[in-house]
Symmetry: D3
Subunit: 228 residues, 6 copies
Amino acid sequence: MKQKMKIVVLNPNSSEEMTHAIARSARKYAQNRFEVLAITDNGAPEFIDYPEDVAKATKDMMQIIKDHEYIADAFVIACHCDPNVKLLRQISKKPVIGIGEASMRLAAMLGARFSVITTDLHSVTQKYELIHEYGLERYCASVRVRDKSIEDEMEAYEQAARKAIEEDLAEVIVLGCAGLCEMAEELTKRLKVPVLDGVVCGLILAEGMVNAGYRTSKVRFYAGKNDL
Amino acid sequence: MKQKMKIVVLNPNSSEEMTHAIARSARKYAQNRFEVLAITDNGAPEFIDYPEDVAKATKDMMQIIKDHEYIADAFVIACHCDPNVKLLRQISKKPVIGIGEASMRLAAMLGARFSVITTDLHSVTQKYELIHEYGLERYCASVRVRDKSIEDEMEAYEQAARKAIEEDLAEVIVLGCAGLCEMAEELTKRLKVPVLDGVVCGLILAEGMVNAGYRTSKVRFYAGKNDL
Amino acid sequence: MKQKMKIVVLNPNSSEEMTHAIARSARKYAQNRFEVLAITDNGAPEFIDYPEDVAKATKDMMQIIKDHEYIADAFVIACHCDPNVKLLRQISKKPVIGIGEASMRLAAMLGARFSVITTDLHSVTQKYELIHEYGLERYCASVRVRDKSIEDEMEAYEQAARKAIEEDLAEVIVLGCAGLCEMAEELTKRLKVPVLDGVVCGLILAEGMVNAGYRTSKVRFYAGKNDL
Amino acid sequence: MKQKMKIVVLNPNSSEEMTHAIARSARKYAQNRFEVLAITDNGAPEFIDYPEDVAKATKDMMQIIKDHEYIADAFVIACHCDPNVKLLRQISKKPVIGIGEASMRLAAMLGARFSVITTDLHSVTQKYELIHEYGLERYCASVRVRDKSIEDEMEAYEQAARKAIEEDLAEVIVLGCAGLCEMAEELTKRLKVPVLDGVVCGLILAEGMVNAGYRTSKVRFYAGKNDL
Amino acid sequence: MKQKMKIVVLNPNSSEEMTHAIARSARKYAQNRFEVLAITDNGAPEFIDYPEDVAKATKDMMQIIKDHEYIADAFVIACHCDPNVKLLRQISKKPVIGIGEASMRLAAMLGARFSVITTDLHSVTQKYELIHEYGLERYCASVRVRDKSIEDEMEAYEQAARKAIEEDLAEVIVLGCAGLCEMAEELTKRLKVPVLDGVVCGLILAEGMVNAGYRTSKVRFYAGKNDL
Amino acid sequence: MKQKMKIVVLNPNSSEEMTHAIARSARKYAQNRFEVLAITDNGAPEFIDYPEDVAKATKDMMQIIKDHEYIADAFVIACHCDPNVKLLRQISKKPVIGIGEASMRLAAMLGARFSVITTDLHSVTQKYELIHEYGLERYCASVRVRDKSIEDEMEAYEQAARKAIEEDLAEVIVLGCAGLCEMAEELTKRLKVPVLDGVVCGLILAEGMVNAGYRTSKVRFYAGKNDL
């Protein structure tokens, strides 16, 4: 009997609270179609903000991939700055999807231009770097940060998104942090445009690639020297 | 009881033979997860090669979308030059995915660079136009046409792909025509790199977007004046 | 005796009023050098705003081209979103010029950066798409929409243009709708920078190409399967 | 009585032979519509190949513009590397058109991709610089140099163009030197694709801009400090 | 005995006051490592603002290069619009560095995005042209002009820079005029981000290239016809 | 008394032989101007080829930076794929230069277009990724790999470079691996174009930045959460 598909959703942050939110979002999307293994990188900082945080998270991220290589059908890296995605693609034989890339590529197919709304000023520039890396400049209306003086988080992000829609002419909103995933539904209702949560977008691609039997190409760029 | 998901796979070419091949590929991917309605644009030319062919196909494409708007959960436009995708996105409330865009965006996540292999010289330039439109230049190793003097079609495309991999350093191959969809599996085996069939790639995105409840943004670009 | 040059200026909108304005602008430019045939697409919506409007206009646009293929020396498509220009280029043997493309390419030779001023918010994103398609990002200072609360149309566009010049550092203004063609002269006086009307820009290129004997290349991209 | 339009075609090379060829091409295009003043930059090197050659030609180019500012309606700079075009645009109040820019912008409207054929290897890189400056990368199939071992010049350029059409998929050919202008007609016949001569392309734009009353914007970039 | 390195810092403006400021900055950087020859282009306008000013400066710039070819080890062109840099690179056998290019390339290695602050509105567009020429769009946060109504120059530039940092998210500031070189130190203190002076940046590259024995490539683009 | 400048040249590969070659190149460039500390990452694989190799090298790279933060004036990361450069820039207060970025940015100032010659096919795509990241596409003529069947390494790289110069029109050659640094001088002689060694290029920038007192901007992108 064919086994149920298993997708590992790896939270590179060590915040268990965030992992729970991610797991809830992921399972809501998964329904009964596949099993979600939400795994926290316990060796990582609570929140990944800077390259050094990524470096601290790397060892455990690699170990998690290796430990689940024969169990998982695909991996979703649940941090919107796509930390170590290329590295993990190289060491695994299964599809590895970053939620930043997934959400922004899908956004480009749901409206003419998207805006990313994010938590902190320093991550705005990080988003621009990602957008350049993925060649998505032409689809990006803006990257906006919430106003931290607004106490209610939902309202703060709603306001940032609304400015993006009205002033920057965004037609789709991308949530710029895995921790915001549970806001997608409510913000979609309030804003009346698609609000994309990277965890769901990552799962869309991961599930589909597993169903299709697609795997990372192992010639050259992602080849690697060693078997697992 | 929740109804089974239904995805309309619209073949803008009037070739029934091609629709059958597309339907077989689509159903193989769909398994029991969703129902595939493969529909031929009978008013279209047998094969869409040029803008005029697209124009001839347009009226029926619109009608098919309108006729299935309340039945279908999503639409996949099964022609690799993505004819009328923006138009259909505007007139439908459901996700509309072009297989050219779907296959090339997925290719960018399965290897560092992809090549498209295609049927005819005139379509090579059409692919370059699409690649520019989608901002994918930086992921494209080349667009190659099969050698028509090679009688065996599979061998002809295999050779084109092999040159793309060896000479242009492609790591992923994209099949540049819906009619080639059934070659993906065999070519993947022969070439040992991912060979993407747009029909499957389109379904990955369509199915996922339906599962996620994502729909085209209806502010501005895809708004349209009239309800269906 | 050599016949007088004839240029068909095709208004893809069905507004006769707009056709009259276009015809007046065109004839003023034409003087006695060539004859202007201003033709309304009667099968089209009054104003082309969305892809569906373009789709409705297509059949008659093709017919008008075919009917005038042996009479006209060139065609100018008088709608600033350049609807069906590639299609018509493929079906005709004569030069076919879109006024959006014409006006923005000329703008790039009359100042360092241009802004487009346009009628409605939804067309702003359409302009960005065109600018991307033509590779003109580096020449574009902004796309601005008039303030609809200003009753006097001329004043509304003047204000939008003035902001483009002062805040976005535009040096040339492009009128983003064929219907605005008769404002060019007055706005040029008020703003003291070149204000380009697409109808005139389209005729500059069409007339020149006819004089030079230039015709669309018929290898590959615009080849087409059938003679007219 | 309105005076006949006068366009100065400035040959920045001091080769009189080249000026004669340019003048013949220009007058053939001009017919009776405007007067052509073909002027040689006698202070320049015989052929402009390198920046130093441009520097030597500059003083006289400026003087020629100033001397003809009140006589000429527009200026065409008849050297395909567009030497000093921005400078001359700044010092004149009349339209100033470079034949490199003119020919490549027109080429983009006559086929999907163009190739430039040129005289010498060192000018190939110069063309790439121009193509980058004008944002035309996406329309450029290649820049090719003739094979100097082929004695017959026409045949050498024909061969370079043919390779561009067949191997690089060019659909339009741009002659990369003003001195080649008289080959355009014959090469068009042989190659059966549009072969654009920059002198004619420059005149198309210059004549049209004069007819339309368009002049270089004098805010900021081309403003300059002094009146002539 | 090995001679001390000599770098000519050529001020293309004829302002002696500016040359003195440039010389002080240059010598402060040079310490005892190399000798600075600060040379004023006496034939130039006091301040280079427009292409015509560059044209007037050209002859003496070339002469200064030729006069110092055997004395100097490298040349730094001390005007932030990089006038004639390509020309001088072609006529000299020694490295020739423009301070605009030097400062913006270094800025890209000291922070994610930089802003240029400059003297006048017309130079803003000139900076954008340079940024396009050098392919640095993706590193540029903005180009800002000082507020001329602020009497104290330092304060005016500080304010412009502060807006660039806070509103445009610049992380590095580039001084957009050689005349501002002596402000770098004080502005760095006030703004707490790197503030780059082009003269120093140009010398970093010139000194290093001399130490490394690097010289401009003399195949093709910078080859030139004549020896000095 | 002012202390002598110290630059740490960090070899992220664990090959001591490579470190020696790097140290010899670095000291030859340094002369007496600064002290070179060439440090091997002993925890790294012998040669860094793939992301996993970088991951293995990271911990020690960070430690080396931290251990030398108060000793070193700047850091040069001596591996041409610029591993961890952004990370190290974030954790250090001193300039951190990657030799890939340094060599390619300098190449753009020494000729119109450069080619990178490299060791293995898989690194060709890595170079294209870097070139995209740094926005240097427009300066890149090609990336070429040596022919491994040529036994003599120098000859193999010479041949690759020669093809780049003759067929791809490169004017400057960039050595695509730190291990090739000692070939620069000989290849420069043979090829008669500048052949840039990244170690020297990195030192040019590092030394200059130290002399100028330039340090990485610590607002946002490279800010980091913790002091060392």
